[in-house]
C-alpha cells in the first residue's frame, strides 16, 4: 500500500526534527506526535520526546509549570502550535473571531502559545484545515505574534507551517511565508486560492512534498504506529488500523 496523506505529513515533519535533542508535543496532536516518534526512531537514541496531556508519556515531575520553565531554559528544541486562524505574518489566534468582548466565535484560549512561541527555537505551525477561513490576512486576536520588534527577547519563533495541502518555509528576514512544497494530489493554484494571506513562491517552481520511502513507511507502520496507539488509540486505529485496547 502506498503512503497515506497522514504518512506524508508525518515524514515531512520528522524531517524538520532531525538531530534535535528534545521535542515536545502538545495534547491532541497525533500527527506531530507520530512525527516526533519517527524522528526519535531515526536518532539512534539521541532524541528525547515528551508528549503532553498523556499520563504515560509525561516525564515532567514539577507540576504544570515545568513544560514552560523547561522551554524557557532552552531545553526544548521543537514544539507545535496550531490556531483557529494563522495569518501571513505567522500570528496565531486561539481566542476569538470579531470583538473579543462580544465575539462571533469563541475558541478555548491561548494555552501556552503566548510564551512558547517566543522561546522554542523551532515552532512548527500545524493546521490541517487549509482554507481562507483559517489562513487569513490578519488574525482577529493575536494569541502569539509571529515576529517581534528588535530588542524583544525572542530565541524562538516559527520554523515551518504545514497544512493538509502544502508546506511553507518561514523567511524570518522578510517575515513572510514561502511555499516550500505541495503535497501529492494538490496544486499551486489550489493553494493560492485557498490561502487568505500573501506568500512567496520561489522562482523556478515548487517541488512536491517527498513521500516516505519504503523503509520509512515500514518504521511508521510498525514501531511508530505501535507507540502512537498507546496515546491516540482512535487515530492509530483509523490511520494504521492498529487494534485499540
Amino acid at each position: 500500500m502506498g503512503p497515506r496523506p497522514e504518512e506524508v505529513l508525518i515524514t515531512a515533519i520528522a524531517g524538520m526534527l532531525e538531530g534535535l535533542g528534545h521535542i515536545a508535543v502538545g495534547a491532541s496532536s497525533p500527527i506531530p506526535g507520530a512525527a516526533a516518534l519517527l524522528a526519535r526512531e531515526r536518532s539512534a537514541g539521541t532524541t528525547r520526546v515528551s508528549i503532553l496531556g498523556s499520563e504515560r508519556n509525561n516525564f515532567f515531575t514539577d507540576g504544570g509549570k515545568e513544560l514552560f520553565d523547561c522551554a524557557g531554559q532552552g531545553r526544548i528544541d521543537a514544539f507545535f502550535l496550531s490556531g483557529a486562524q494563522i495569518d501571513g505574518a505567522a500570528n496565531v489566534n486561539l481566542v476569538s473571531i470579531g470583538d473579543p468582548d462580544r465575539p462571533k466565535a469563541r475558541f478555548p484560549g491561548s494555552f501556552g502559545s503566548g510564551y512558547l512561541y517566543f522561546v522554542v527555537p523551532r515552532v512548527i505551525l500545524f493546521r490541517l484545515e487549509h482554507t481562507p477561513r483559517t489562513l487569513v490576512e490578519r488574525v482577529d486576536f493575536i494569541s502569539a505574534p509571529g515576529f517581534s520588534e528588535d530588542g524583544v527577547y525572542r530565541p524562538g519563533g516559527p520554523h515551518k507551517l504545514i497544512t493538509d495541502r502544502c508546506l511553507f518555509d518561514v523567511d524570518r528576514d522578510r517575515r513572510r511565508f514561502r511555499l516550500e512544497s505541495v503535497h501529492p494530489g494538490h496544486t499551486l493554484e489550489e493553494i493560492v486560492e485557498q490561502t487568505g494571506f500573501a506568500f512567496d513562491i520561489p522562482p523556478g517552481g515548487v517541488p512536491e512534498t517527498p513521500v516516505p520511502d519504503d523503509d520509512t513507511l515500514e518504521v511508521i507502520r510498525t514501531r511508530v504506529a505501535g507507540q502512537i496507539a498507546e496515546i491516540y488509540p482512535d487515530f492509530a486505529a483509523r490511520v494504521f488500523a492498529t487494534p485499540t485496547h
Binding site: G53, L116, Y117
Partner: protein
Amino acid sequence: MLATVVPVEDLAARIPDGATVALPPDYGYCALGAVHALIRRGACRLRLLGVPAIGFQGDMLIGAGCVETVETAAMTLSEYGLCPRFTAAVKAGTITVVDSTCPAIHAALQAAEKAIPFIPLRGLIGSDILARRDDWKLIDNPFAPGDPVVLLPALHPDVALFHAPMADRFGNVWVGVRREQMLMAHAAASTFVTVERIVDGNLMDDERTKAGTIPGLYVTALAEAEGGAWPMGIPGGYEPDRAHLARYAELARTEEGFAAWLEATVMSRPAAAE
C-alpha cells in the same frame, strides 16, 4: 494537628459567594462532587481561575449561573469539543473572560506562593493577551536597559478547590506529580480538598509518599468523597465516565438541554448533609 473533616456539602458551603476559586484542568484531580454541591447551594458571583485551564467543572458552574468572571489560559472539553455554556455566556456577555496564558498563571501563583508582589515573564510582548491586560505591566529590564519584559502581579486566589486520591487524618493530601495543586494550595488563602479516602497513619512517614504530599498546614478542610471526581476520572485511579461526558457536551449545547442535565445530575441528587 488534626484536619478539619466535613461532608462535601459543608465544604461547598464554606466557599463564599464572590470568591476567586482556583480550579485544576480536566487532566488533574477535579472535585466535581464539591462543584455540584456548590451549584446546589446556589453559589454566585464566583471568579474562576483556571490553573492553567478549565474544562467540564467550569462549564457546569457557568451554565448554572454561579460565575461572574473566568481568568484562564483556556476553557476546553478537549476531545469533547468547546465548552458550550462558556461559549454561550461569552457571546451573551453574561460573564467576563480574562484571557491569560498557561505560564503566566503558574508564574503569578508562584509569586503569591513566594509572597513577592510581582514576577517577570518572557514572551507575551506584541500579543493581544498583553494588550488587554491592564493589570500587567511592560517595563524595561532594570538589569539590562533596552530589554522589555512583562511583570505580572501575584495572583492570590481566595480558594483552591480540588480532589486527590488520598489524605490522612492530619490533613496531609497526596497529589503525586500534580504539583500545580500544591502550588494552588500554597498560593490560596483557603484550600478545600475532597479525597477518595482518608487513610490511616501519616503520609509524611514514608519518604516516597511524602515527596508528593501537600502538608496539612495548607489545607483548610477536607471531605471524604469516594468517586468525588465523577464524571471526571482520576489519573491512576478510575477512568472518566466518557458516556456521561459526551452526553453533557451534547446536552449543554442548548440552555434547555443543560437545564435538563443539571436537574437530573446535580439538583436531584440527595445532598449528603441534608
